[in-house]
Symmetry: C2
Subunit: 192 residues, 2 copies
DNA sequence: GATAAACGTGGTCATTTGACCATAATTGAA
DNA sequence: TTCAATTATGGTCAAATGACCACGTTTATC
């Protein structure tokens, strides 16, 4: 049972100690080193993943070898490839650690059983999904609308703690601009 | 009871005639004219929406008055502002018709009741949500990765029937490029 | 603590893109 | 069917952006 997961459930649900322990003990704990992959494109995503500590990124590599980052998942959030998990088909994306990371993993069978048994876990699950959809929409809008500078500022506002934990090239990749453009923006903002 | 909705449920579930009629009769039918809004930013999204006929677009208007289109919803798909619907908070986006459109509307209470009564509707609901998440991810990736030409080609492949139904400026808005860029691409492709 | 790898910044230059404008064609509403 | 509004295209020009390269710094790992 991971203490961070316990903290998370206490803060986000009104589940009893017992049930929390039940959920937590069903999971396996996995430690990832920097750059280690949790899910590799081509493999099937077989777990729900809670990030207890550290930082994951979900990304895909295009034909030219460029990486495009779909999302970052810091501690106290969840991640998985929904499509691959649901249909048990090979995933098209990678999920990897950008720093030493600890995750909790539930198999589909186990997690479904927990969902059946625990109504409040269902509720939490729904919330996470709604938030996911909402974030995706926001991300699409930000990607479409702003100038590179606005996107960068938006990123800093939205994830103030990630800036110092990630190499700039990953932020550039997430924002859909070249590193050059990003450093130009930073240069301009310094001298202003 | 709208015949298109019946068709849709028959094709996508194994629900009985009776139940299908029950679901359909709970909805109200609304007709939208071209450019008419189904949901206006600031209002609360109070319905689940099935598009029986026509085409909706979800978009937001930025500070400069530019429209950015998040998604198109053609016949036999669903749409709503999840955030606003769930929390009953004012929506930040608009949903409007790009052509004469017929939609079916369920209030939250009614739809939740149906969800409770009909397990297979729950299943369908889950599927729609998964697909939504998956599409969003694909959309983010496409927006990040390709050249404008690749994005345009991708759009045509993915929505072959929408090209002729939408003004180019909306496609440009959806793809995050200026109309100029889009017509340039079309020009190039013609002379090749 | 040493060393190789990764990283952030900056210069240059070619290319792409958008803003503004005009015009012809198409569309939709009366 | 007609007429006004919308739409698609194209010209021009300035600005933004990315590719390539080099250099000094920081970081990770042994």
């Amino acid at each position: 049972m991971h203490p961070e997961f316990e903290k998370y459930l206490i803060a986000n649900t009104s589940l009893t100690e017992d049930i929390i322990r039940n959920i937590g003990n069903t999971a396996t704990i996995k430690t990832l080193r920097r750059n280690e992959l949790l899910l590799q494109a081509g493999d099937i995503c077989r777990h729900k993943v809670f990030i207890a500590k550290g930082l994951l990124r979900m990304y895909s590599t295009d034909a030219n070898g460029n990486e495009h980052i779909v999302q970052f998942s810091p501690e106290h959030t969840w991640t998985l490839d929904v499509e691959s998990y649901d249909k048990e088909t090979p995933s098209l994306i990678n999920i990897g650690a950008t720093e030493p990371t600890e995750v909790l993993l539930w198999t589909k069978d186990d997690f479904n059983r927990l969902l059946n048994e625990i109504p409040e876990l269902r509720k939490l699950s729904q919330q996470i999904i709604s938030r996911n959809i909402y974030y995706s929409r926001q991300r699409i809008l930000t990607t479409l609308s702003g100038t590179p500078e606005e996107k960068y500022d938006d990123f800093i506002q939205r994830f103030p703690n990630l800036l110092s934990r990630l190499p700039l090239r990953m932020i550039a990749s997430y924002l859909g601009m070249s590193i050059k453009t990003l450093t130009r923006i930073r240069h301009t903002q310094l001298h202003r």
